[in-house]
């Protein structure tokens, strides 16, 4: 049997125990293809049976340990396959202190030294490597699209789980790959995911953004809704978002349990990509663009699952528990475990015990200790502008420790050029250097033990931001509003002058 025929007729077990209905596979073959399947097929080198294939990798993105990993392989006499498709940036282990450039020991591991020491050697191989001294440095999921190293139609892989962010420019991207395997072979072995489409309809209310769309979606569908699925976010509301807003949505695909998330490229995408440092130019641009225009899902393509989320009336979202699916609107009350579906009652009880909240109370007015604005979810210039609009002319509440971390050096420079840093500093925020930081503290930046943090990041797991630390996930303007009020508040009411 030929590979393609076999794919269409084979069902696989894999990550979950559900099976793909055969009819839907036949329908796909007959009527049209999804964007995910188009990109998958373009990269498929070899089919290994079941739903597994070997795929060609267009970009391998390495973190802090990237240069060291490459050096180890070279020292062992190995050859890097397709080095010009590899790039690295220091983000997880870098200090976010302004002193990090002079006191290099503030950065964990040897991350501050590896990049400058290996820069020339890597450049000679065609490998871009951005250390803390480079003007492109930042969080990898900000840097990739921002530099044009991530382009539509690509298969983009990395170790980090939030690599799904890059799907916002119309590519397929995922984390969880090991550097060594990809560097030595230029390929990955993967199981093909099922196609899940989330269509957004309705209108966004004031101060409701991409972050609220995806948090609301995870709340509505569940943190496992994306199991074995590649999620395509679609519909007029997604079209109306900037590429940065789309990145926030795609970023939390992994919090929905999905293999990846993506948005079909459109003119918004092409305009975003065109000016980027590493984007193709001239004839190559025309060639690429023609290909990118063929990528969007065919009208007749069948989806394993098709969901519609109506955003009309959805408020700014805030999590109350220890999973991103534990989420409510800002004016809602904290739910009681007895209100949960039977199978979730225990989880809700444990969640409320951990977050020390009382069912029936409003989530608004919960006092907080820290605010974190940063992370690959929302630390791009449009996010910082939204936060600055909230903060302008106001002060951070006493006893609240509030940080703002631009997602990259270019974002930081742009923010400073616009005077946003002054707005944050004058209000009492710490304005720090780009890196992953307190999203989970692998550089040592942690929320203090047992403290409550309002965060614009993507995970509110037990102990995620620090030992016994409680995380409330919100959008960036909601995080800014909480910093001002010293408690969880509705940014709409703060901006309307109803909260002082």
């Amino acid at each position: 049997m030929k590979r393609r025929d076999f794919i269409k007729t084979t069902v696989g077990a894999g990550v979950g125990c559900g099976f793909v209905p055969m009819r839907s596979l036949f329908a796909r073959q007959a009527a049209g293809m999804t964007m995910y399947d188009k990109i998958w097929d373009a990269h498929e080198i070899s089919y290994l049976g079941g739903i597994t294939s070997v795929l060609h990798v267009d970009r391998m993105m390495l973190p802090d340990s990237g240069p060291a990993a490459i050096k180890r392989l070279l020292d062992a006499g190995e050859t890097i396959r397709n080095p010009e498709l590899v790039w690295a940036v220091a983000d997880h282990q870098v200090s976010t202190s302004p002193e990090r450039y002079t006191d290099r020991s503030l950065n964990l591991g040897s991350v501050a030294d590896d990049f400058p020491e290996m820069k020339e050697q890597l450049a000679a191989m065609g490998i871009q490597a951005f250390g803390i001294d480079d003007p492109e440095q930042g969080i990898q999921h900000v840097v990739g699209p921002e530099t044009g190293l991530t382009l539509p139609g690509m298969l983009m892989v990395a170790g980090d789980s939030h690599t799904c962010t890059h799907g916002a420019v119309g590519c397929v991207s995922w984390g969880g790959e090991t550097a060594q395997n990809v560097l030595l072979t230029g390929t990955v072995i993967r199981e093909r995911a099922r196609n899940l489409r989330v269509n957004y309809t309705g209108t966004l209310g004031p101060w409701v953004r991409g972050k609220d769309m995806i948090l609301h979606t995870i709340g509505a569908l569940g943190a496992d809704a994306g199991n074995r699925c590649a999620v395509e976010y679609a519909g007029p509301l997604v079209r109306s978002l900037s590429v940065e807003g789309r990145m926030t949505i795609c970023n939390l695909s992994i919090e929905m349990g999905a293999a990846t998330g993506m948005v079909a490229p459109d003119d918004t995408t092409y305009e975003y990509v065109a000016s980027r440092e590493f984007a193709p130019r001239g004839e190559l641009w025309d060639q690429a663009l023609a290909y990118w225009r063929s990528l969007p899902t065919d009208d007749a393509a069948a989806f394993y699952r098709d969901e519609t989320i109506d955003m009309t009336g959805v408020e700014p979202q805030v999590t109350w528990g220890i999973s991103p699916e534990h989420v409510i609107g800002i004016s809602e009350r904290i739910p009681a475990p007895d209100d949960a579906p039977f199978e979730k009652r225990d989880a809700w009880r444990r969640a409320l015990e951990y977050t020390r909240l009382t069912p029936g109370d409003t989530i608004a007015d919960t006092p907080i200790d820290e605010v974190f604005i940063g992370s690959c979810a929302e630390s791009r210039i449009s996010d910082l502008r939204a936060a600055a609009e909230v903060v302008r002319g106001r002060r951070v509440a006493p006893n609240v420790l509030a940080w703002v971390i631009a997602g990259s050096q270019p974002v930081k420079r742009q923010a400073e050029a616009e005077g946003l840093d002054r707005i944050f500093r004058d209000a009492g925020f710490d304005w720090r250097e780009p890196g992953c930081s307190k999203c989970y503290g692998s550089n040592g930046d942690l929320v203090a033990q047992g403290k409550r943090c309002v965060s614009n990041s993507n995970r509110n797991y037990v102990g995620r931001q620090g030992i016994d630390a409680i995380t409330h996930l919100v959008s960036t303007p909601m995080a800014a509003a909480a910093a001002i009020a010293g408690r969880i508040v509705d940014v709409r009411r703060l901006m309307a002058g109803e909260i002082v």
Binding site: V15, C17, I45, S46, D160, S161, R228, G257, D346
Partner: protein, 213 residues
């Protein structure tokens, strides 16, 4: 029954596991619960008990009595029974290596976080997807038969629970072959080296804009 592979690899092997199954019947057991990183180890933890630290220990190092692996009859479990979305979260390899160090070689769950699943395949922990009602039955049996063992056999793709039932499961053919033969990913790919090379050459011709920047 599948035959013994003719050639064995240098990677982790999994053929079968007979052991105690510990019901950790929660959904969404995330990687930060399984293996926190970036934080100091819990004062009560040993290398064998670092998995599940936040639900295994209080911050001062005392054991949490309600955690299943702290309970009599389940301390030496090698199999975890769980709900949906086990291992949701990050790509950290320690989410698999710490349970392995603690003797956990199998997780049976309704579904798995995609990155935990990939790590399990790489490191030789068997992630078995099974329907929820079947896992419930095994969990009830495990509570009623503390200290008794079950058998998870990858070769035959069955779970045998003495006196209860035999449950069939399916993993991807490639995963089964990899784990039975103990192949590393690199060994798997080295067999395809020529095919990969040919593909890469024509790919470069077709998509120059991916290479030139």
């Amino acid at each position: 029954m599948a035959e013994e592979p003719a050639v064995l690899g240098n990677g982790p092997r999994f053929i079968r596991q007979e052991g105690i199954a510990a019901p950790l019947m929660m959904d969404n057991v995330d990687t930060d619960i399984i293996s926190p990183i970036g934080k100091p180890p819990n004062p009560g933890a040993t290398p064998e008990t670092r998995a599940f630290e936040p639900i295994r220990f209080f911050a001062d190092g005392r054991e949490k009595p309600d955690f299943i692996l702290n309970q009599e009859g389940f301390r030496r479990s090698s199999i975890i029974l769980a709900g949906k979305n086990f291992g949701t979260g990050s790509s950290r390899s320690v989410a698999v290596s710490r349970p392995l160090t603690g003797g956990i070689n199998v997780v049976i769950a309704e579904s798995f976080g995609p990155l935990f699943y990939d790590n399990s395949v790489r490191q030789g922990l068997l992630a078995v997807p099974l329907e929820g009602d079947k896992i419930e039955r095994i969990a009830e049996w495990a509570f009623a038969n503390r200290g008794q063992t079950i058998l998870v056999d990858l070769q035959r793709q069955v779970i045998e629970v003495p006196g209860l039932d035999t449950f069939e499961f399916r993993v991807e053919p490639r995963v089964r072959e990899k784990l039975l033969g103990g192949f590393t990913v690199r060994e798997e790919l080295s067999r395809l080296d020529e095919e990969i090379h040919v593909f890469a050459q024509s790919y470069r011709q077709s998509w120059p804009w991916i290479y030139q920047r």
